[in-house]
């Protein structure tokens, strides 16, 4: 009896939680399979569901979608490059700070943490101005550099923490055997750090894939912008074809969602453990 009561209470919580979570996502999906008229009718399910929106998106048959595939490619390119560069920079930096105990490493770590904690929206204008003086405005390099700068601090911090947990004796034994720092890096550190590196690579990749503000500040050419900015273009019209936007938006949301769920165990553990340590 008590058990059934408990179960009932849990279900009473679960229902509103699911409704709240799924409503906008459900709405996104419904619009993406609605015709223009069905969309304006605001029904819970379109009278005649259609895949035509996706067809229009795939064939880029609308003014707002002229560069859809190009922008999808840009998103992939920017995200993957950011992921790889961040991984490269952060793996080396974390090794230097955590295992080699390089001088000034602690200071750099704290400065990086401060950068991580200052909201990115407040760094956007200074970074925009700096990109102007570097002559990089309207290049994808500007966006990639900005995303690497924003992703690296957290990446270094998480990798440093993971590296601190590796036993010191491993290094000591290897050094006694005459191993150089590079060998230590390659033979001891890299193999043991792989799981954390996967999490960090994905973290940076998704950060760049999802970014909107920096992308629309730093890039303006419609052929160069990532899909996030391409979708934002729909905001410029009041009577925008929202059903097409939702179809394109759904396609844009699928890659990160697949990655998140594919690596769910690692992501949730890796990112939440790193984010707050009490």
């Amino acid at each position: 009896m008590k058990k059934a009561l408990d179960e009932g209470k849990l279900i009473l919580i679960a229902i509103p939680v699911l409704l709240w979570t799924l409503l906008p996502i459900y709405h996104l999906f419904v619009l993406s399979i609605s015709s223009q008229e069905a969309m304006l009718a605001g029904t819970l399910w379109p009278a005649k569901p259609t895949l035509q929106n996706f067809q229009i998106v795939f064939q880029q048959q609308h003014y707002y979608l002229t560069n859809f595939w190009r922008q999808m490619f840009n998103s992939f390119f920017i995200a993957i490059t950011t992921g790889l560069l961040t991984l490269f920079i952060a793996t080396f930096a974390a090794f230097a700070i955590s295992r080699l105990k390089v001088r000034g490493g602690r200071t750099i770590m704290n400065l990086a943490l401060a950068t991580y904690l200052i909201p990115a929206a407040f760094l956007a204008i200074p970074m925009y101005k700096a990109m102007g003086s570097y002559g990089l405005l309207n290049t994808q390099a500007a966006l990639i550099l900005a995303m690497v700068a924003l992703a690296s601090p957290y990446a270094i911090w998480v990798l440093k923490q993971a590296s601190d947990k590796l036993p010191k004796e491993l290094d000591e034994a290897a050094i006694m055997d005459g191993a150089t720092s590079l060998q230590l890096f390659r033979l001891v550190y890299l193999p043991l750090m792989k799981p954390s590196m996967v999490v960090i690579g994905i973290y940076a990749l998704l950060l760049a894939w999802n970014e909107y503000l920096y992308a629309f500040l730093l890039l303006s050419n419609e052929k160069a912008v990532p899909l996030a900015v391409g979708l934002g273009l729909f905001l410029s019209a009041d009577d925008a074809p929202w059903n097409l936007l939702m179809a394109a938006g759904l396609l844009y949301a699928i890659p990160p969602a697949v990655i998140y769920y594919g690596f769910r165990k690692n992501m949730v553990g890796g990112l939440t453990a790193g984010a707050v340590k009490s």
């Binding site: 390089v102 750099i108 200052i118």
Partner: protein, 295 residues
């Protein structure tokens, strides 16, 4: 004889160690260099440049004379206070639900993290269309189901539009903080609860004397971190209402960008600099906290 045979390997080893010290300093510097370079180019120079641009006193006078700015400061404080506290109370409560030992609760959790896993743009724009007062799904359904002809102006009424932004912000960030608090709850030893219920403690007493004391530090740290990030939430306001209606609902993170896009860069920079006294103490506190935790 034993002395010489012993001495050789020890000397070799100490050679290896001192050689290693030099090697280590060299490679440490080389390996840290890429990040230091990125930091100098992408953080130090931009911030210094920004501060230099912010030396113009007239822009602060203009800023404080702008009624939109004053309104924005108030908005930001209200947004922070409501969004962070509401989010954490819900997260605290939901984390208690999600630690229930049921297979189906774990499936609910997998669905629950969706807002965190999918990008902001499509979902926030979905909210925007859904909440459209004339032809959005919510008001149309209010009409169909309840005969309400003129539904609430979710995005056109200033107060409601502001509340909608807070709602979208919470929708997006709730899963992450709930996960953090779930992790915190799992770290509490289960036999404490068993002992307490043997002693006849009710659920509220268990929360008050076991759960809360164990979670308090994590809760406070998380709240602080969430405050900083909420302050930087550009998307929930910009993509949902654009700071409208009539620029009444900006927060500091969207106002700076608005100034910049209106070719008023000086005001944009000034609005960021005046936010620093609010941000930097929190950043300082969190850096100390996080770097201590890392030891």
């Amino acid at each position: 004889m034993t002395a010489t045979t012993m001495a050789a390997p020890v000397a070799a080893a100490s050679d290896a160690v001192s050689g290693h010290t030099r090697d280590r300093a060299l490679w440490g510097a080389i390996m840290l260099a890429p990040y230091v370079l990125v930091f100098l180019v992408m953080v130090v120079y931009p911030v210094a440049y920004g501060l230099w641009l912010g030396l113009n006193w007239n822009s602060y006078r203009a800023l404080f004379a702008d009624p939109i700015f004053i309104r924005t400061v108030v908005n930001t404080i209200v947004f922070l206070f409501i969004a962070v506290n509401l989010k954490f109370l819900i997260a605290l409560w939901l984390s208690g639900f999600f630690v229930a030992q049921r297979a189906w609760v774990r499936i609910v959790l997998v669905i629950f993290i969706l807002p965190w896993a999918v990008p902001s743009i499509p979902t926030i724009l979905s909210f925007r269309v859904m909440l459209n007062p004339e032809n959005g799904m919510i008001n149309q359904q209010l009409f169909h189901l309840f005969g309400i002809v003129e539904g609430p102006g979710w995005l056109t009424d200033p107060t409601l539009a502001f509340a909608s932004s807070i709602m979208v912000h919470i929708w997006k960030s709730l899963p992450f903080w709930t996960l953090i608090l779930i992790t915190g709850r799992f770290a509490i030893a289960q036999d404490l609860y068993e002992a307490a219920s043997v002693d006849g403690a009710n659920k509220w007493q268990q929360f008050k004397f076991i759960t809360w004391p164990s979670l308090a530090t994590l809760y406070v740290t998380s709240t602080m971190l969430s405050m900083i990030w909420t302050l930087g939430d550009f998307n929930s306001v910009y993509l949902l209402t654009g700071g409208g209606p009539g620029d009444l609902n900006h927060v500091l993170s969207t106002l700076g960008i608005r100034y910049m896009r209106n070719n008023n860069l000086d005001l944009g920079i000034a609005s960021i600099i005046v936010a620093m006294p609010l941000i930097l103490p929190m950043v300082y506190f969190m850096v100390k906290r996080l770097s201590k935790g890392a030891e």
